[in-house]
Symmetry: C2
Subunit: 412 residues, 2 copies
């Protein structure tokens, strides 16, 4: 069973919005055993949308669209779909009641434009969009199907989880092979090409239905084994175990979970807690650590000491130490980590201080130099990294290094 | 002059990676006066890549590809392009010297797989990839052109800025109409449909070459006027001024800059500084404020008080106050904002405390309730928001509300 996604909106093609929807939808489809063949982003343009629909229906059984369902003139998806499927718009009383309820405290929103949202194509099935005014529409084309959703990410997510995925499951259940497997290992401390040579023999003897992919990013390589229905779960597990044994020396995770989730899980299991003292990462590490539900079990807080005065007055880094060693130094990050651990009363603390650029670098400490310390109940360790030249890359990589270091300490 | 992007990689279609490249490339192309017609994401699969190339060349003059250029077996883009353009791989001495220099301190990386990276198609122009081992390739097909780049975002960005965009400019200069205009206003405090009714007359009298788009997100609507070569700069400016006058009451920005950039610019102009005290936003607001270069001029630091003990011990929120009013309350955020402003010695401070969920909500304070305070030299204001039901949505919206509030205070 094959699906395609068409994302509709000029904003995607002028770069005003990053399409985060497609990756999320792709994950969900794969989990359901539905292979996603292609993602296509098109303009809010009648001919363009129709051409994309024709092409997608030639290749796939299921077409999912997002975007272009607002009440304003620039949004034309519903009208184009009416034309494509030979439908007329009719008023839907259930949708109307829902929208009137949705905006019952905001009478100004119940205006003539919003009223166009309860006009729906007469040959589409209408599913409930619990959190928005754009109706979810299902169209049929012979034995194929189109599901049309809004582009606002959280509306799309609720629509997919509560309506579209259950609908696809009940419609296509007998045809979906539920044996798409993706399993991922995360390794660090080895170059991609060196890793590939290490795995050469393994790759050469893999059966044809098994695929190995290398996804390097910021010093961590995600190594993904995939099978689209050809292998049994047991065979997949056997190859995965073999792969894991081969990369054991570099392994930091046996799942595709984000590293901060792994840190959180390890800490929660041990009833331990963590804090951060961040300079160059400026809160990015803190917000990773509390990004996911359940973080209050292990994450206490942080002191973001972007300005040196904060390092001195709150974290108690002596001014003379900064004067002597510089603010990006082993001495300073050690004090930062130990201070925040003590101040916040946590088991662990991570501190970062570096030069994120574009200015502030020197010959001895160029842009990209980052000192990092991990304070633990058993003492403090520190390490210096050189993390590239671009501001965002440096801070992203610093967060990754901080988390990798923490995972290693917790797994020790 | 029309371009298309083809992003190549199974990881995009199983949702393991979000395609952030395309939006960035789209912006750059538009700035150069090159219209981006479509973005297509395809598998690491010979037939799929060839089909996508054929379709893209049918529609566009310039095709840009990213991804599939690593040295491992799963990356096949170079081989498929050789087949497509009838090329053979030959060793390129310049690329070889570059790669040998790139890894001069890491002899293990100079292995037989890395050596495949200096094999290049004999009919392609090779441009320098300053920061990686995959060569940038330009192929010609009649009067059309394909540029092939790696998928690692920072490599792609450097390739585009230093090599591909200048190449496109010099190749197509006489054919590029430099008058693509996009201008954006940001408004808040009005529903999308109400705004559209307010602008009905304006939209009806717009010339056919002018387009108005509504991009609502988290309570802010970006209102974009676009023209692809039909209008002069003066005409564009006139319509933009007219639009601005119509939405004056709701206007928070006259550019498409992220709100944190606007806050940073306003503060820097005034030589003023800011700090944050964050509970539910957990560092996200801090990391927004220092995301961009130049932030050390106005951003001092933050106290992330995820756990109540941090609110009490560092920010001096009295335990009785938390006991009496709850941690998500006007009283508490006021103390948080004023404390962090005083502690860090800044002109302004923003504090957040809310229930990001999924647990922790009550009837009186459901998930999504967020109290926020802005401490200023003229006193402190506070406001309560209800920001939805999903954790990420709540914290994103809270940051946006914090920044909108700050912009309003600074523009007062």
């Amino acid at each position: 069973m094959r699906a395609e996604i068409i994302t509709i909106g000029d904003e995607l093609l002028i770069g005003q919005v990053v399409d985060t929807n497609s990756a999320w939808m792709a994950q969900k489809l794969n989990e359901q055993g539905i292979e996603l063949y292609q993602i296509t982003s098109v303009h809010d343009d009648r001919e363009h949308i129709i051409a994309a629909l024709n092409e997608a229906f030639n290749r796939a059984d299921i077409v999912l669209t997002t975007g272009g369902l607002g009440p304003t003139k620039d949004d034309i998806t519903k009208h184009v779909l009416c034309e494509y499927f030979g439908a007329h718009l009719i008023e839907d009383q259930r949708v109307r009641a829902h929208i009137e309820d949705l905006y019952k405290d905001r009478p100004d929103v119940l205006n003539r434009l919003t009223a166009t949202q309860w006009l729906v194509p007469d040959n589409a099935e209408i599913l409930e969009n619990r959190v928005g005014s754009a109706p979810l529409m299902i169209f049929h084309k012979e034995d194929k199907l189109l599901a049309c959703m809004p582009g606002v990410p959280y509306e799309m997510k609720i629509a997919m989880e509560e309506q579209i995925l259950p609908y696809l499951h009940s419609s296509f259940h007998p045809f979906i092979h539920s044996s798409i497997y993706h399993r991922t290992l995360q390794v660090t401390g080895i170059a991609e090409s060196t890793l590939a040579i290490l795995l050469d023999e393994f790759e050469n003897k893999m059966p044809s239905g098994l695929h190995l992919a290398y996804l390097p990013k910021d010093g961590v390589i995600r190594l993904r084994l995939s099978s689209y229905g050809e292998l049994s779960e047991a065979e997949m597990a056997r190859y995965f175990a073999e792969l894991k044994a081969l990369v054991q020396d570099y392994l930091i995770a046996e799942t595709d979970e984000p590293l901060e989730v792994i840190v959180g899980r390890l800490l929660t299991e041990r009833h331990q807690t963590i804090a951060t003292a961040e300079s160059c990462t400026g809160g990015k590490l803190a917000s990773l650590l509390n990004k996911h539900a359940g973080s209050s079990a292990f994450y206490y807080g942080s002191v973001i000491s972007y300005d040196n005065s904060v390092k001195e007055h709150i974290l108690g880094v002596p001014a003379e130490m900064i004067e002597k060693h510089g603010v990006v130094s082993e001495e300073v990050v050690r004090v930062m980590a130990e201070s925040v651990r003590r101040l916040l009363g946590t088991d662990y603390a991570i501190a970062t201080s570096g030069i994120a650029g574009p200015t502030g670098g020197s010959e001895a400490k160029p842009v990209g130099t980052v000192w990092m310390a991990w304070a633990t109940p058993e003492g403090t360790t520190a390490e210096c990294f050189h993390l590239g030249k671009l501001r965002e890359q440096i801070t992203d990589r610093a967060c990754l290094k901080a988390l990798v270091g923490m995972i290693k300490l917790l797994n020790r």
